[in-house]
Every structure is written in structure tokens, then in C-alpha cells.
Amino acid sequence: MSNEFSDVPDHTRRIILKGAAGLAAFGFTAGALTSAHATADAKAWPADAFKQKSEADALKALYGKSAEASDKVNLDAPEIAENGAVVPIAVATTMPGVTGIAIMVLENPYTLAAAYKIPEGTEASVACRLKMAKTSKVVAIVEAGGKLFSATKEVKVTVGGCGG
């Protein structure tokens, strides 16, 4: 793989070089996440959850509970992914009281792919693009009313999404 920054625009190179000079220098001023939300610290990003290698462990680390299957969770994922590097996946539900959505790819090296926080006033739906290392069950989780609900779909991957 050649220089991955060969087609990164110059302004991005500058940001990256500035960042490399140290967080203190670049800091939490203009350009960083606003201090009122202080989300750039370790607590805001659930590092532990992103290290887990099973569905149960990831859910426990992320939400502290387990999920029950529900047909009210809509998981839209292809049957056969055109390429494991970019698999379009969407999750939606009409359930009330949704506070979070998460997506797990069970055969990936780390189970949890992404999680989303849904405050009041935001719709319980998200579309994103994920990497899948190989054919795997994809599990969508909806956190609503303090409980977890899930939907599962197997997505076939014929070309690995991790650069293989």
C-alpha cells in the first residue's frame, strides 16, 4: 500500500501534522469538540467496549446489559456485500424512547463496529458504512426505555474488507 496520504488534501495534512505535535499544543480550542461536552477524553469513547470479541461482552461493556430479539428493529444490510471494505448498513425503529443504536459484526476481530447516541428529538435511525472482514452475522442493537433490543442478519462477504 503506497503512502496513504498521497491523496489527502494539503489542509488535512496540516491538521494531521499539527495534531502530531501534541495534543497540548493543538488542544481543545477551535477545531476540537466543544469543551462543554468534553467528549475527546477517554470516558466519552468506550474503549473497553470496542476491544471486546463477543456480542455479549461488547453489550455488557457498552450498555451493561444484554439484548432481546425484536422484530421492531429494522436492520437493512445486503445479502451479499459487494466489497467487505464498504458495506452500507442502516438501522431504524419506530419504538419510542430510543437513546442509542449500536451495530456489531460478529466475525470481525472486534465485535462492536459503531455506536450512536440518540438524544430526545433525534430520530431512531442511522445509515452508515462498515468494514466486514468476512461473512458474518451483523447485529443491530436499539437501546430504548432502558432495555436493549436486537435484530440479526447474515451478510455474505466474498472479498475481505480489511485490505486482504
Binding site: G19, G31, T34, T39, V86, C162
Partner: protein, 103 residues
């Protein structure tokens, strides 16, 4: 100066649909370079979307989110001409943010 963040925010009725594309390698840490060395993980961890001083959506991302990551969501309360602010921070502490107008 252009940002790494592209935003398309469209208001329709009382709902605003937001799509965002961010220029970021999202290296998983599982890929080797041409010399056989692992390319270290370099991926966005948190993305925040704010409208009228309130966080309307937060993304918590791991290495399995695709390169040049995309996300789409909708929220209530935005209207045409409002600002929407998007900020991200990655595992190396690098960050960027932008403000876009709702169309």
C-alpha cells in the same frame, strides 16, 4: 479553507436530514503496508453534531467503520438557514470541525 468534513443538511417540514462524509483513512490496524509492516490504527473515535447549542447526534466509532466515513441521521427542530456544527476527534488526538448551513 475546506474542511475534512462534508455535510448535507436538508430541512423538510420540522425534520432535518443530515448526511456527513469525512475525509479520514480510518486505518483499522489490521492492514500491512507494501513492506509488510502493520499500518497502525488511525481512526475517528467520536463525532458530534450540534444544532442551536445542543448535541443532536453522537457517533462512537471503532476501526470497523469504513474509510472516508459516512453517516446519515435525522432530527427535529432544525430549519433552513440554521447552523449545524460537526466535530470529530480520532485516536491520535487529531480533530477537525466545520459549520454548515441547513438547506
Amino acid at each position: 479553507m475546506a474542511s475534512t468534513i462534508r455535510v448535507r443538511a436538508i430541512a423538510s417540514g420540522d425534520t432535518t436530514q443530515v448526511q456527513s462524509l469525512i475525509n479520514h483513512p480510518m486505518d483499522s490496524g489490521f492492514v500491512k503496508d507494501s513492506k509488510g509492516q502493520i499500518i497502525p490504527p488511525h481512526h475517528i473515535e467520536v463525532v458530534e453534531f450540534e444544532h442551536a447549542g445542543k448535541v443532536v447526534f453522537t457517533c462512537l466509532w471503532g476501526p470497523a467503520v469504513s474509510k472516508d466515513p459516512y453517516v446519515k441521521f435525522s432530527f427535529k427542530g432544525g430549519k433552513k438557514g440554521d447552523d449545524i456544527k460537526v466535530s470529530w476527534v480520532d485516536n491520535k488526538g487529531q480533530s477537525d470541525s466545520t459549520v454548515a448551513k441547513i438547506q
